[in-house]
Amino acid sequence: MEPINTFSSGAANTVPRHRLFSWLRVWALAHNTLLELIRLKVFYFLLLFAFLVIGSSIFTVKFSFQNPIQILKDVGLGAMSIFSWLLGLLCTANLIPKDLEDRTLYTILAKPVPRFEYIFGKLLGVFGMLIIAILLMSALFAGVLGLREQQELAELAANTPQDQLAAAMAEVRASAFQANLVPGIVLILIKALLCSTLTLLLSTFATSSVFTMLTSVIIYLIGHVQGVAREAWLSGGDVSPMLKVLSAGVALVFPDLQLFNVVDEIAVGTLLPAALFWQVAGFGALYTLVYFLLAQIVFATREL
């Protein structure tokens, strides 16, 4: 060990008075969480996404009989949805258990940091990571789509008769990357944020991150099938009041993730009505907020 120098921590007491809520503390926690996720190399995930999108781009040229740009949009948006959910799940599930296991949580909460700031900061860090990931995926997606568009246009120019060329080119341009894809990408982001917040809620009381991940996956699946299941159950004439209450309970606790399937419509070029976009976005934001508040309540009373 190096010799210890004379004791001097610098100036006299320079620490400002404690405030009930401080953006500085929340920002420090969020920034640190983002740094943790980036330095833990989670963005290798994005490489997989890149391979999938670029690979499908090459594949569709050679083997598909459908509109290759359309297939690319389907694959790209679908992969973006799955990857952002998975990224959020894997990153969030281990945040609190790891801090607890390493006792870093004790050191943080032994400072004048309220527990709600800790949860808030962690969640903002995950949100930051997801926003960066979605932006990178969107940029890559738009780039590959743009390249395919150029290839298609060049092929058309070479092989299409002059009188049909303008119409054919317009068709290709219409199926390529357009502004109407943006609301779809925003909804994919909101869905990932919702699922990450749910995972964080589970991790505030779970004793293992494996349990957190499994439960989160199960809720994700329930969220996707509950709408169809509810319709099937309740469509029969003789439905017991018990089943109705159970169905309403499931619908309330688990988010109906099928609502986010409007992204599939966007992929085929359908213009999403603004009202529907805001309805789905608001639904996602509301569930995110409720799960966040529940996480705060559970964590506030947890014995560490």
């Binding site: 010799p3 004791f7 001097s8 610098g10 420090a28 390493d102 032994a110 004048p112 009373t301 014995e303």
Partner: protein, 282 residues
């Protein structure tokens, strides 16, 4: 009159155990006061309730009964931690941060920012002798270096109370000596220190007062010199004493009505006292 640095009143803590009706009692009616500026050693075997006491004091665990306060502010209030610097046992900080980034992070949690924070962080790294390792990631730090970065983060908020849980655990003797010197410097600066350690010789050297816990109860506490003196028996350590001299001493002791209780190799006083208390022979 200034409030005590630590006030613990009738503190009890039960932990629920799954599939068992009866909870486990970790603390039982513990009362304790530590004055500002004191260095207090909280001793006890593993599972005696020291860590639970510290966790309640720091607001990490809620008590079943009783209360704790730091400089008069209840531990249930976040403001009470303004005055505290805490070093947990075997601290593992974020491995992906450098030493400097770690101190800056904890400084921000204390409400510091800008050049004040940077100056303070550099000064603390000098204090704990880690200036050369400031830009290295903690993943590459030795145990002793981690312990020292832990001390630096505990000091970043200008604490009036330092809670140190086994600050020398796993540290080599030289490093342990350095940490002991640092604690003595804190003491000279008037910082109150609550120290939990199994290194009894070090506790004896540093602490003004000690408390010994066992099975969730405070068995005894008080000034170290008083506790040890009241139980001490005169003990000489002789060098180059011939068997004849020892025989003469025995004869003289017998004539004076004294009895030689034990002939043994010298032992640390506190160590013996600690064993007596925890084994119920006190």
């Amino acid at each position: 009159m200034n409030p005590p640095a630590i006030t613990i009143q009738n503190l009890s803590k039960d932990f629920a155990v799954p599939f068992r009706r009866e909870p486990v009692r970790a603390l039982c009616d513990l009362s304790l006061q530590i004055a500002a500026g004191e260095v207090y050693g909280l001793l006890g075997p593993n599972g005696s309730g020291k860590s639970t006491t510290m966790k309640i004091l720091l607001g990490l665990v809620l008590p079943t009964a009783g209360s704790t306060a730091i400089f008069g502010v209840s531990s249930k209030r976040v403001e009470s931690r303004e005055a505290v610097g805490f070093l947990p046992e075997n601290p593992y900080f974020y491995k992906y941060l450098t030493g400097l980034e770690t101190i800056l992070f904890f400084g921000k949690l204390c409400g510091l920012s800008g050049s004040t924070l940077k100056d303070k962080a550099h000064a603390l790294l000098r204090t704990v002798g880690l200036t050369d390792a400031a830009e290295r990631r903690l993943g590459g730090y030795s145990k002793g270096m981690l312990q020292r970065i832990g001390l630096a983060q505990a000091l970043i908020g200008d604490p009036r109370l330092l809670v140190l849980d086994e600050p020398t655990a796993g540290v080599d003797p030289a490093g342990s000596h350095d940490i002991r010197d640092l604690i003595l410097q804190f003491k000279a600066q008037g910082i109150t220190v609550l120290l939990c350690s199994h290194l009894l010789s070090q506790v004896q050297e540093i602490c003004d007062r000690i408390g010994i816990m066992h099975q969730g109860r405070l068995l005894t506490e008080g000034r170290l010199d008083e506790l040890l003196n009241s139980h001490a028996k005169p003990e000489w350590t002789l060098e180059n004493a011939s068997p004849e001299l020892l025989a003469q001493i025995e004869v003289l002791a017998g004539k004076a009505g004294a009895r030689i209780v034990e002939k043994a190799q010298p032992q640390t006083d506190l160590e013996r006292y600690f064993l007596e208390v925890t084994r119920g022979t006190h």
